[in-house]
C-alpha cells in the first residue's frame, strides 16, 4: 500500500464548507497542475453541488504550459501551480490578483517497486552505482528538490536517468525497471499498490510549495475566490491530505 505522510502535520479537519450555499453563478475556469487532477475535480464537484448555477471547467496540464497559456491571455480565473517558479511567471506578468498563497506542500519520498526487490532502505542507496535509479531532472521542481536533499545529506547521487516529471519516474518504478526513484509523496499515494514509499528525514530540506491565486482577467472573481477558499478550507486540506499532500507548514 501507499505510505501515509506521517510527517505531515495535517491541520484540523472540520468539514465546514466555506462557500455560501447556492450564491455563485456563471462559469469558473480553473488552471491547475496535472498532479491535482483528482483532488480538484472532487472539490469542484462539491462546489458545483453547493451552487447549482455554477459551472466549473478545469484545465489540467503541466504548470509551465499553464503559465504560458495564462500569459497568452487564456480565459482563466484561478491558477494553481505545482511550484513557485511557474507562479512567478504569472505574477511577473501582473496577472495575479493579490499575492498567491501556498495551499499545500509536497515532500520527496523514495518510491520502490512492490516488495522492494533491491532492498533500498534510505537516501544513501542513491549513491550506489549498481542500482538502477531515477531522479527528476534539475529543471523540474522534483529534480530541484532532489538536488537540495542530496546536498543536505552530502550524497553524490548516481542516477541512470533524469526524468522529465514525476510521472515518468513512477512509471519506471511501477514496471520494476528502476530499483528506486525519488518522487513526491502524493505521487506514491496516487500510484496505488504497485509502488511502495519510503520516507527519509532529509526530505524536510526541500519542501515543494503549491501556490494558488485568482487572476486579474477573471470574469467571475467571486466564484474564483470561493474556489480558492474551498481549497484552503479544512475540507480542501483533508482532500489534499488524503491524496498524500500535506498542509503548508508556515
Amino acid at each position: 500500500g501507499g505510505s501515509t505522510s506521517s510527517g505531515a502535520a495535517s491541520s484540523s479537519s472540520s468539514a465546514a464548507s466555506s462557500s455560501g450555499g447556492g450564491a455563485l453563478t456563471g462559469t469558473l475556469t480553473v488552471f491547475a497542475a496535472a498532479s491535482l487532477t483528482d483532488v480538484f475535480t472532487d472539490l469542484g464537484d462539491q462546489l458545483m453541488a453547493d451552487n447549482p448555477d455554477l459551472d466549473i471547467t478545469f484545465n489540467f496540464a503541466g504548470s509551465s504550459a499553464l503559465a504560458t497559456q495564462i500569459t497568452q491571455g487564456a480565459p482563466a480565473d484561478v491558477f494553481a501551480s505545482a511550484n513557485q517558479t511557474q507562479m512567478t511567471v504569472v505574477t511577473d506578468a501582473g496577472l495575479a490578483e493579490g499575492d498567491p498563497t501556498v495551499f499545500t506542500e509536497n515532500v520527496l519520498e523514495i518510491a520502490v517497486p512492490q516488495g522492494n526487490p533491491a532492498g533500498v532502505t534510505g537516501l544513501s542507496d542513491f549513491a550506489d552505482p549498481d542500482l538502477t535509479l531515477a531522479i527528476c531532472a534539475p529543471d523540474v521542481p522534483c529534480g530541484a528538490a532532489a538536488e537540495q536533499v542530496f546536498e543536505a545529506a552530502g550524497i553524490t547521487a548516481q542516477p541512470d536517468t533524469l526524468e522529465e516529471d514525476v510521472r515518468a519516474a513512477l512509471t519506471k518504478v511501477e514496471l520494476g525497471e528502476v530499483d528506486a526513484a525519488l518522487v513526491y509523496a502524493s505521487d506514491v499515494q496516487a500510484a496505488g499498490d504497485q509502488v511502495e514509499g519510503i520516507e527519509f528525514p532529509e526530505a524536510e530540506d526541500a519542501v515543494n510549495e503549491y501556490p494558488i491565486c485568482t487572476l486579474t482577467g477573471s470574469q467571475n472573481p467571486e466564484a474564483a475566490q470561493a474556489f480558492v477558499d474551498l481549497v484552503e478550507s479544512d475540507t480542501g486540506q483533508q482532500a489534499l491530505a488524503d491524496a498524500g499532500f500535506r498542509s503548508p507548514s508556515s
Binding site: A34, F58, N59, F60, A65, Q72, G73, P75, L170
Partner: protein
C-alpha cells in the same frame, strides 16, 4: 509490433468497462476523431497543392517553401504550440487583429485543436504526396495538356488519380499524427473536457492518477483508429501493384 503484444497481454482489462463508462472518455474520443479528421481534410486541401508546387512547378523559392513545410516536422510540438501563440494568440500577429476586429480568439477552442493538429500533421501529408508526385509519370500530364486540360484540370483529373495511393498513404500518416498530437494541442488549445481535451490529453491526465486506466484508454484509442483505417483501406488504397 512485438511491444504491442506485451501491452495487450499486460493490459488491465478489468478497467475497460469502468473507463469506457466515463462520459469524458466518449467525449474525448469523439473530439479526437473529429478534430483529426478535420485536420486531415484541411491538410489535404492546403497540402496537396503545396506538394504539387514542390514537385512540379519551377517557381523560385521552392526550396524555401519546402524548408518551411518541413519545419513543424522537427520542431518539438510544445514549441510548435508556443509558435502558434505568437501568431494566433490574443497577443499574436494575426490573433490580435482577429481579436480587435471580430472579438474572436482562437486559443482554447476546438478550432485551436484543429489548427494545432494541422500545423503538426500537414507536413507528413505534403512530404509523402510530393514523393508520390515525383515518382509519377509526368508524360500523362503532357497528354492531358494536348487534350486542352489546363494545369488545374490536369492535376485534378489526371495527376491526382494517378498518385491516389500516395495521397492515401499521406492522409493516413497525417490523420494518425493528428490523432496522436499532444504537445502543441495542450499548449495552444488547453485541456478542456468537451472542447479541447482529445484522447492523448485524457491519457496524459489519466496517467497522473491511474496509470493502468491510461493504458486501457490508449488501447481504446488504438482500437478505434485501427478500425477506422481498416474500414477505409479498401476504398482508399486503390490500385494495387500486384500484376493481374
Amino acid at each position: 509490433m512485438l511491444p504491442l503484444l506485451g501491452l495487450l497481454v499486460r493490459a488491465p482489462w478489468s478497467q475497460l468497462l469502468p473507463q469506457l463508462a466515463q462520459p469524458q472518455v466518449g467525449e474525448a474520443l469523439r473530439l479526437s476523431l473529429v478534430s483529426a479528421t478535420l485536420a486531415t481534410l484541411v491538410s489535404l486541401v492546403l497540402g496537396v497543392p503545396i506538394a504539387w508546387v514542390l514537385a512540379r512547378s519551377r517557381i523560385r523559392g521552392r526550396s524555401v517553401l519546402r524548408a518551411l513545410v518541413t519545419v513543424p516536422l522537427v520542431l518539438p510540438p510544445v514549441v510548435g504550440g508556443v509558435a502558434l501563440f505568437l501568431v494566433l494568440g490574443r497577443q499574436g500577429i494575426l490573433g490580435r487583429w482577429l481579436y480587435e476586429t471580430f472579438d474572436y480568439t482562437i486559443p482554447f477552442t476546438t478550432t485551436a485543436v484543429v489548427i494545432a493538429e494541422t500545423f503538426v500533421a500537414m507536413p507528413f501529408l505534403v512530404i509523402s504526396v510530393e514523393g508520390a508526385l515525383r515518382a509519377a509519370d509526368a508524360r500523362f500530364e503532357d497528354a492531358a495538356a494536348t487534350l486542352g486540360a489546363d494545369r488545374w484540370t490536369t492535376f485534378r483529373r489526371v495527376t491526382l488519380p494517378l498518385v491516389a495511393p500516395g495521397v492515401a498513404a499521406g492522409a493516413v500518416l497525417c490523420w494518425a499524427r493528428a490523432l496522436g498530437e499532444f504537445g502543441a494541442t495542450i499548449t495552444f488549445a488547453g485541456n478542456f473536457p468537451g472542447t479541447t481535451q482529445t484522447m492523448p490529453l485524457a491519457v496524459y491526465l489519466a496517467l497522473q492518477s491511474n496509470p493502468e486506466g491510461a493504458i486501457v484508454l490508449s488501447l481504446v484509442l488504438l482500437a478505434v483508429s485501427l478500425a477506422t483505417l481498416l474500414l477505409l483501406r479498401d476504398r482508399w488504397l486503390g490500385r494495387s501493384g500486384v500484376p493481374t
